[in-house]
């Protein structure tokens, strides 16, 4: 296998960026079942990391721990040098389900975090409208979610996550329910957002192509117990046109990952 593609952990443009989020020696057990076994990962500021693995590998458990929804059996989560273990609300979070509130308009859903914490102000709404307009939702601000397609609703959910203002965003298979074409459009849209806004993204997927196309680094996880099998650096230049999907580097990475997932 192409040794050159194997990660040494520090290759790539993130070398100089400071560590944003540290996952340190995480263990999660549910009774006698070990969901996560000694998971450690450092994520740089502004990095795009994909977590890849089959179902049951503990991806969602990992996300629930990082978000603070779930308490780990041992280990800790460090954000900007502070221990944030079991402290919910430190990172943004988005799921495959769009979780729109049907009685709120697109704009009302985007400003949800402000409404939930202190009440959305005119300024919040204006900023959210500006952000949404810049990324193609300008004509739908006053629409109810049911009037939008699945892809558009996921865009709104993404805007809502961004408007919540957290520097680190956890995206748990956000495009998993979309058809292949819509998904490709959404991936490009997300990369544009990420480039503009310089957030740190942790992205869970079980789609190998999606992981390679989006990520700076790919964390391959294997199940029973959920653990990190390998971390690969994706040395594809950015911005990434669709043509990268057929390059040798892309295909080589894919082969390497498939061996981990399906051997």
């Amino acid at each position: 296998m192409p040794e050159a593609l194997k990660s040494t952990g520090t290759v790539g443009s993130q070398q100089s960026a400071p560590t944003k989020l540290s996952i340190e020696n995480l263990n999660v057990r549910f009774g006698s079942v070990t969901a996560l076994s000694d998971v450690s990962l450092d994520i740089s500021d502004g990095e795009f990391v994909c977590i890849l693995g089959a179902s049951g590998c503990g991806k969602s458990t990992l996300f629930n721990v990082v978000s603070g929804l779930l308490k780990a059996t041992s280990g800790k989560i460090v954000l900007d040098g502070h221990d944030v273990s079991s402290r919910p609300g430190q990172v943004g979070y988005m799921l495959q389900k769009d979780l729109m509130l049907p009685w709120r308009t697109v704009l009302g859903n985007i400003t949800l975090a402000a409404s939930l914490t202190r009440g959305a102000t005119t300024r919040d709404r204006a900023e959210a409208a500006e952000l949404a307009s810049r990324y193609g939702l300008g004509d739908f601000l006053n629409h109810y979610p049911h009037a939008l397609s699945g892809g558009m609703r996921q865009r709104v959910a993404m805007m809502r996550t961004i408007a919540a203002g957290r520097q680190v965003m956890l995206l748990d298979e956000p495009f998993g329910a979309l058809d292949a074409q819509t998904r490709l459009g959404m991936q490009q849209w997300l990369l544009q957002l990420w480039r503009d806004l310089k957030r740190t993204v942790l992205f869970v997927t079980h789609d190998v192509d999606e992981a390679i196309y989006l990520a700076d680094r790919i964390v391959v996880m294997t199940p029973r117990p959920g653990r990190i099998a390998e971390i690969l650096t994706v040395d594809l230049p950015r911005p990434r046109p669709l043509e990268v999907l057929t390059t040798d580097i892309f295909v080589g990475l894919k082969r390497q990952i498939m061996q981990h997932l399906y051997h």
Binding site: L95, L99, L101
Partner: protein, 273 residues
């Protein structure tokens, strides 16, 4: 313009057609059965009696409507508050639910007797009977609404830093509005039945229910039918009123964009800035 008028007139026209159909069926039954008017009066005779006795009937209608409306509002409020309490506190739900089911299993007529013994022949037993009938569908539907809120949605609200009060007001409470109206609509058609039963068993004051009994005893069949017509109007009117309120209060169910008053317009931003 034409199509919009048509869309608005559609439901109205259907109501008119449906009512005409009912009256025609009624008239045909009278003809086909060949029964005398003191057994089945033709619609025209029932309406004639209604108009001839309007001064008296209007007062009785007012009384029955009053009992129905007040009892309905009390029942709906109790049902709504009870459901919210049950939804928020699991122990309350476990404890209260069996009592609620038992309350509806007891025949409503059987409840009237003890109510009269306790409260006498006043307004109170009638209100309680109406409220008794109305609150149950409200409780059941609002509980369903609360239970329908996605766990992940509540997690998301928590991760966004939402306190329990704001999360309740923004995420949970609006999820109950649709189901609440489902319960209110069922209650609206039952409420007038409750008022009539209340008048039959627990009333010294004249209403349409008591008039119905008297007319029946006097073989005044047209009078019975006139009272029936008025009771039906109260029932259908209540339903339509609640339905109209529902359409106004749940715009997201019938529209793809927010109504004008709720729309965000960029101008607002520059005014505030």
């Amino acid at each position: 313009m034409n199509t919009r008028f048509g869309a608005a007139a559609g439901p109205f026209l259907i109501w008119v057609v449906a009512m005409v159909l009912i009256l025609v069926t009624w008239q045909v039954l009278v003809w086909v059965s060949g029964l005398p008017a003191y057994v089945i009066p033709p619609p025209a005779q029932a309406f004639q009696t209604l108009f001839d006795n309007w001064p008296r009937l209007s007062v009785l209608t007012g009384q029955t409507l009053y009992e129905t409306a007040i009892g309905y509002v009390i029942g709906a409020l109790i049902g709504f508050v009870l459901a919210l309490a049950m939804g928020q506190i699991r122990v309350v739900q476990r404890l209260v639910m069996p009592a609620l089911i038992i309350s509806q299993a007891v025949p409503i007529v059987a409840i009237a007797a003890p109510l009269v013994i306790i409260f006498g022949f006043g307004l109170m037993p009638k209100l309680i009977i109406v409220a008794w009938i109305v609150f149950f569908p409200v409780v059941v539907n609002v509980l369903d609404g609360l239970a329908s809120v996605d766990r992940d949605m509540l997690n998301l609200a928590r991760l966004m830093g939402g306190g329990s009060l704001r999360t309740f007001a923004i995420v949970k409470l609006p999820a109950c509005i649709g189901p609440l109206f489902s319960g209110l609509k069922i209650g609206a058609t039952y409420a007038v039945t409750g008022a009539v039963i209340g008048e039959w068993t627990a009333s010294s004051k004249q209403g349409l229910g008591t008039y119905l009994l008297t007319a029946n005893a006097q073989m005044n069949t047209a009078g019975v039918y006139a009272a029936m017509l008025l009771l039906t109007v109260i029932g259908v009117g209540s339903f339509l009123l609640v339905f109209g309120l529902e359409v106004l209060m749940t715009p997201w169910r019938s529209r793809s964009t927010a109504p004008a008053w709720a729309q965000w317009k960029p101008a607002q931003a520059s005014v505030a800035a």
